[in-house]
């Protein structure tokens, strides 16, 4: 099998060609497939930033994958048909260069990308305070659905106590608390007005869940014992799906919900009818 010594004269090695072609094909194929658009159409303000990040990564890494595979394929093609090993050994400078060049490249490409495009978006989503006029909605995950609650007119959520949880009081709301009277409850359905900040108070009754809005580039674990707040601005009317992105048991795949982004008027109308 292994052709030793000089038996391997300059004759083309069909296997080498085949492998080279495969490697080229892989690199180009991955690039072509990656050039297509798979992301769900973005529907939130910060989502644009995340898409920019993703597209930046797709372009840069895609290019590097193609280049890498073209070079690898060429080396296979070229050196599978040589008669004898090149007598000159790789010099120290060459080895240094091929260590320093990738180092610089990746520093610029990866670190630059995350520092310039990534961290700002991430920071805005997680560390910035939401605007004062944000619609506040509390989403509480449980096996296997999402409980939705609005504070109502007084803008305050009624006190909850897990001890009070019953079949028809899923959140264990303390009815004696006046703030609880005008709370609006719903199940796996969130109404929000378009182009206005939505502040989500994320909680969980039992195990870890993850509040996942594919179109809004939102994903945040709901951690029992913690109330995690995040906010985003939906900028497209329509009905969007909510999914769970953290394994929460056998019903994990069933935690489907809807986010209805509607006009201001419709939102107010909906609130009014909910209150009555």
């Amino acid at each position: 099998m292994t052709e030793t010594g000089d038996q391997a004269a300059t004759r083309t090695s069909p296997l080498g060609v085949a492998l080279a072609v495969t490697v080229w094909f892989i690199g180009i194929g991955v690039f072509i497939l990656g050039a297509r658009r798979y992301l769900p159409e973005v529907a939130s303000e910060h989502g644009k930033g995340i898409d920019v990040m993703l597209i930046y990564l797709l372009v840069t890494t895609g290019t590097l994958i193609v280049i890498g595979h073209l070079v690898l394929g060429y080396f296979v093609f070229r050196f599978s048909r040589t008669a004898r090993v090149s007598p000159t050994l790789p010099g120290v400078t060459a080895q240094r260069f091929w260590s320093i060049a990738p180092a610089i490249l990746m520093t610029v490409l990866a670190e630059g990308g995350v520092l310039v495009l990534g961290i700002p978006v991430f920071g805005q989503l997680y560390t910035q305070e939401p605007p004062a006029d944000a619609v506040v909605v509390e989403v509480t995950g449980e096996q296997f659905t999402w409980n939705v609650r609005y504070p109502g007119a007084d803008g305050e959520f009624g006190r909850t106590d897990p001890g009070l949880i019953t079949a028809d009081n899923a959140l264990g709301v303390d009815e004696s608390d006046p703030a609880a009277d005008d709370d609006i409850h719903d199940l796996a359905l969130i109404y929000v007005p378009v182009n206005r900040a939505v502040k989500v108070r994320l909680r969980s009754k039992d195990v870890l869940h993850s509040f996942y809005l594919p179109h809004h580039r939102i994903k945040q674990d709901a951690v029992p014992g913690m109330t995690i707040e995040l906010w985003f601005v939906p900028n497209r009317e329509g009905e969007f799906e909510i999914a769970c992105a953290e394994l929460c048991g056998f019903g994990h795949y069933q935690m489907r919900g809807f986010l209805r982004v509607v006009s201001h008027e419709e939102f107010e109308r909906w609130l009014a009818e909910k209150r009555s």
Binding site: I50, G68, V85, P90, S99, T107, V207
Partner: protein, 584 residues
């Protein structure tokens, strides 16, 4: 090498069959035991993967023959959701802990380290045997957990509490989860014993003249891998102990107040699930590199003899392996960007993670550059090694997305992640295992594997693999969440409904390809082409021993090393290669 003639004379003590093949303390036997055991688990893991694909592609089809194997999980031939989750969990656990770890780190590690550094055996052979016989019960326990009440563990290989901590939270969280923890604990014990042996052997038992910078990269990578393993595993041990306490002794390490699970309020108070995630990933991320680094080392060792050129940038590669190892210990949080972790810490982790791309890219470049100016001998081993380079690139660049906090918000826990880590700890490691197998099989058994079958095996592995896991990347970009029993109800996936079928077709093609390898192994063990002691004209030390090497490896005279590991294409040598044992 005249000392080979007298090799047999060293095997003086007559060993019983049991001492020789079952409870052997010879690193070669133990290595092969690990290799075969791990391979067996690999087959089991692949079988589970097959079941997963069946469910994802034909969610509503009835499989009567499976009902016979899993009467409870596949009741009436329909897969239960909880059984699907158990499959996902156990596929991950088995593949990571009991296939790749066993074959790559324990199997090749045990077999190669003493041979490549010129030792007669591991530093502490008895401990070595003990570590193998600790993994066997672990495997039996893991396999048995499928058939207990509630089925196998169903909280993913990450076993996040509260799901894994509260038996009533999921069917698999009963006895199955306990057995899972037990199996993993035993694995850690076994790995620790092995790691102690690896490090001490490499540091203290090297042959005369085998300075650190003359060691083959396989030994380097195994040394570094076992060091980070030894440093990282204790965190998981601690975490697992606390989880067991939470499950059975009523403590609240991971359980906050007010948990309302399965219709009743739990008394626990004062813990947090985040603690487990931190401790788990403090191990979990280095563990990935425990598997990757040896794969890279082996790839270099296989690539170089078939390119007939010295490894490009040997020293730099060694330093990069070290850098990766260190960085991998301090960036575990990139698995937790959306976990509710402190965002500032998250940003630190994100920046730290992307630093890893630097040494990784250098290693990749060095791999490609090692082909430059060579005369490729495209044996099966070489083919797989070249494939590994491609996989490493693909997987590595996927890592740029997931290490990036912003991009990870969209991609976390989607099929993109699945595709990415399968390229890394699935693909790179698997191809390294194969290239290593084709390369060292002659040393292990004195016979060669069939090249024809080997090449077929290569094509039937690499092409379908891309078909499966590259597609999965795009499936994830489209937003498909992982660990879903059935995605058909989600409208946002309309555009990519065709993908699961494609993936499944490729998956079964690839499995068929692996059968070729099993056939090849079985066939070549008995009537493969006989191989002399150095069939590939390699320079490293193990090829100066007989094939297979006798007990004690070196005959009476221990080898002496005079030169670096990769003296190929040496212009002033009569052959184009100079073994390490040839005096200067």
């Amino acid at each position: 090498m005249q000392h080979q003639a007298t090799a047999e004379t060293v095997v003086h003590e007559k060993q019983s069959f049991l001492r020789r093949y079952v409870f052997s303390t010879d690193h070669k036997t133990i290595g092969i035991q690990y290799y075969l055991t791990g391979g067996l688990m690999g087959v089991l893991g692949a079988f589970l993967a097959g079941l997963i694909r069946l469910q994802l592609t034909w969610p509503t089809t009835q499989w009567n023959f499976l009902a016979k194997i899993f009467p409870s999980g596949m009741e009436g031939g329909f897969m239960k959701p909880e059984f699907y989750i158990s499959l996902v969990t156990m596929h991950g656990t088995i593949m990571i802990f009991f296939f790749v770890s066993l074959v790559l780190v324990s199997g090749f590690g045990n077999y190669l380290i003493p041979l490549q550094v010129g030792a007669r055996d591991m530093a502490f052979p008895f401990l070595n045997m003990l570590s193998y016989w600790t993994i066997v019960p672990a495997i039996l326990i893991a396999a048995a957990s499928f058939f207990v009440e509630g089925g196998a563990a169903g909280s993913g290989w990450t076993a996040y509490p509260p799901l894994s901590a509260v038996p009533s939270a999921a069917p698999g969280s009963g006895l199955g989860q306990t057995l899972w923890l037990l199996a993993v604990a035993l694995f850690i014990v076994s790995f620790t014993m092995g790691g102690l042996n690896y490090v001490t052997t490499v540091v203290n038992l090297r042959a005369k003249g085998m300075s650190m910078m003359r060691m083959p990269l396989t030994v380097w990578s195994l040394l570094i891998a076992s060091i980070i393993g030894l440093l990282a595993f204790p965190a998981l041990t601690a975490a697992a102990i606390m989880l067991l306490f939470d499950r059975h002794l009523g403590t609240s390490f991971y359980l906050p107040a007010g948990l309302f699970i399965a219709g009743k309020l739990l008394p626990n108070e004062g813990g947090s699930p985040l603690l487990w995630q931190h401790l788990f990933w403090f191990l979990g991320h280095p563990e990935v590199y425990v598997l990757i680094l040896p794969a890279l080392g082996i790839t270099f060792d296989v690539l170089v003899p078939f390119a007939r050129r010295p490894a490009f940038g040997y020293r730099m590669t060694v330093y990069c392996l070290m850098a990766i190892a260190f960085l991998s210990m301090v960036v575990w949080g990139h698995h937790m960007f959306v976990s509710g972790m402190n965002p500032l810490v998250g940003e630190f982790f994100s920046i730290g993670t992307l630093l890893i791309t630097i040494p990784s890219t250098i290693i990749g470049v060095n791999m490609i550059a090692s082909l430059w100016g060579g005369k490729l001998r495209l044996t099966s081993a070489a083919l797989f090694a070249i494939g590994t380079i491609s996989f490493f690139g693909m997987g590595g660049f996927g890592g740029l997305f997931l290490g990036n906090a912003a991009a990870d918000i969209q991609l976390h826990d989607t099929a993109f992640v699945v595709g990415h880590f399968h390229f890394m700890i699935g693909g790179v490691t698997m191809l390294a295992i194969f290239s290593g197998s084709y390369y060292w099989f002659p040393k292990m058994f004195g016979r060669k594997l069939s090249e024809l079958l080997g090449k077929l095996h290569f094509w039937m592995t690499i092409v379908p693999f891309y078909g499966i896991f590259a597609t999965m990347h795009f499936y994830g970009l489209a937003g498909a969440p992982r660990r879903y029993y059935n995605l058909s109800q989600y409208a946002f996936l309309e555009g990519v409904r065709w993908m699961p079928m494609v993936i499944t077709v490729f998956a079964f093609t690839m499995m068929a390809g692996q059968i070729l390898f099993l056939v090849n192994l079985a066939r070549s063990l008995w009537n493969g082409e006989k191989a002399e002691s150095n069939p590939w004209e390699s320079t490293t030390l193990e090829w100066s021993a007989l094939s297979p090497p006798p007990h004690g490896n070196w005959g009476e005279k221990e080898p002496v090393v005079y030169r670096g590991a990769y003296e190929y294409g040496n212009p002033d040598a009569k052959e184009d290669f100079v073994p390490q044992t040839v005096p200067t």
